[in-house]
């Protein structure tokens, strides 16, 4: 039998497009962040609030990934920010090729930050680079404080962890969630990860997240 050593990256086609995306974004002075979380953690609500609160200060565009519907893109467009919806029709993550097509439809010269809201899924999207400058993982308190321990890959790879819905932790609430456990587990995997406990609903804690984001803008 003829054995041939190959040594070839299986996802090289995706990586090629990820590089092209990053070059395109960099050329237009954009920073790009890939938001990943379980469904229902509040990614879209976080983006809507961020866009509204930073209106006039930071120009933001969004690429939305969902299995079905353009509900999320409509919510973003209601803020007057541009949004391109990718409907994956069942695929559990976005690919760099899909993002490449979506980037052609955004006026990148008029933007400073492009958020890619990945398909709600804490596992699959972490394996596919899209050309982003960093991943942002969102964890809402109702999901439980064991998630960094149970889904380590995405917490190990992310630049930022947004712990959302902290308004649910108010006195008398029915959510058991140990924020210190989440911080310790995430930092054990990823020493440099920035952790911002926030409520996109009440606005609590969002200031620190905005400061971080402004600090990432490309120098003109």
């Amino acid at each position: 039998m003829a054995k041939v050593n190959v040594g070839r990256k299986i996802l090289s086609a995706n990586e090629t497009y990820a590089r092209k995306n990053n070059e395109l974004l960099t050329r237009h002075g954009n920073r790009c962040f890939n938001m990943i979380s379980s469904p229902g953690s509040g990614k879209t609500t976080l983006l809507v609030r961020t866009i509204k609160d930073l209106a006039g200060a930071v120009k933001i565009g969004v690429i939305e990934g969902d299995i079905q519907t353009d509900i999320d893109a409509q919510r973003i467009r209601a803020t007057n920010a541009p949004a391109i919806q990718i409907i994956t029709e069942g695929a559990c993550h976005l690919s760099a090729t899909q993002v490449h097509q979506a980037l052609q439809e955004l006026s990148l010269d008029n933007l400073e930050i492009v958020f890619i809201e990945n398909v709600g899924n804490l596992v699959c999207p972490s394996s596919f680079e899209l050309g982003e400058d960093g991943k942002i993982v969102v964890l809402s308190v109702a999901e439980g404080d064991d998630k960094p321990a149970k889904y380590p890959a995405i917490f190990a790879k992310s630049k930022v962890l947004l712990v959302n819905k902290i308004d649910l932790l108010a006195a008398g609430a029915l959510v058991d969630f140990d924020l210190e456990r989440v911080k310790a587990d995430a930092r054990r995997l990823n020493k440099g990860i920035e952790i911002f406990p926030v409520s996109a609903r009440t606005g609590e804690g969002m200031g620190a997240w905005y400061d971080w984001l402004k600090g990432r803008l490309a120098k003109s």
Binding site: A2, V4, N5, K9, A91, S127, A153, R188
Partner: protein
């Protein structure tokens, strides 16, 4: 089911290699890192489904998992980690940096014998010499 997309890419890469080699592939070895979160059964099932109707149909797939490595920030020891309760085996500290995870890699393809034009044999010898 990120394995479905991985299987699709894997079949495409094998088909390209098979075209270059000019033979029928019967077995492939691939490797992946821990953070790729590959489930062998799911990937093999997806591979079988994607391969159907192509030159890869009926191929055997062998999947090797490469350990994730970390470097201790205190004593510089490099060690394999499983991410649950990680301590440096030398100094016992929990202060470490994760090293890059191994990529999804197609390591080796085995081709059926005697179905190519002889070019394959020459290339096989080249490979064995390396």
């Amino acid at each position: 089911m990120h394995e479905a997309a991985m299987a699709q890419n894997l079949v495409e890469v094998i088909l390209q290699e098979a075209r270059n080699y000019g033979g029928r592939p019967i077995r492939a070895k691939m490797s992946c890192g821990m953070l790729s979160a590959v489930n062998d059964d799911v990937l093999s099932f997806a591979f079988e489904a994607v391969a159907r109707g192509t030159l890869c149909e009926g191929m055997q797939l062998e999947i090797e998992h490469k350990p994730l490595q970390a470097k201790c920030r205190v004593c510089d020891r490099i060690f394999a980690v499983d991410l649950s309760g990680v301590k440096c085996p030398d100094c016992g500290k929990e202060d470490f940096e994760l090293l890059p995870d191994a990529p999804l890699l197609l390591e080796q393809i085995e081709f059926e014998e005697g179905v190519d034009d002889g070019e394959g044999e020459r290339r096989q010898e080249d490979t064995e010499r390396q």
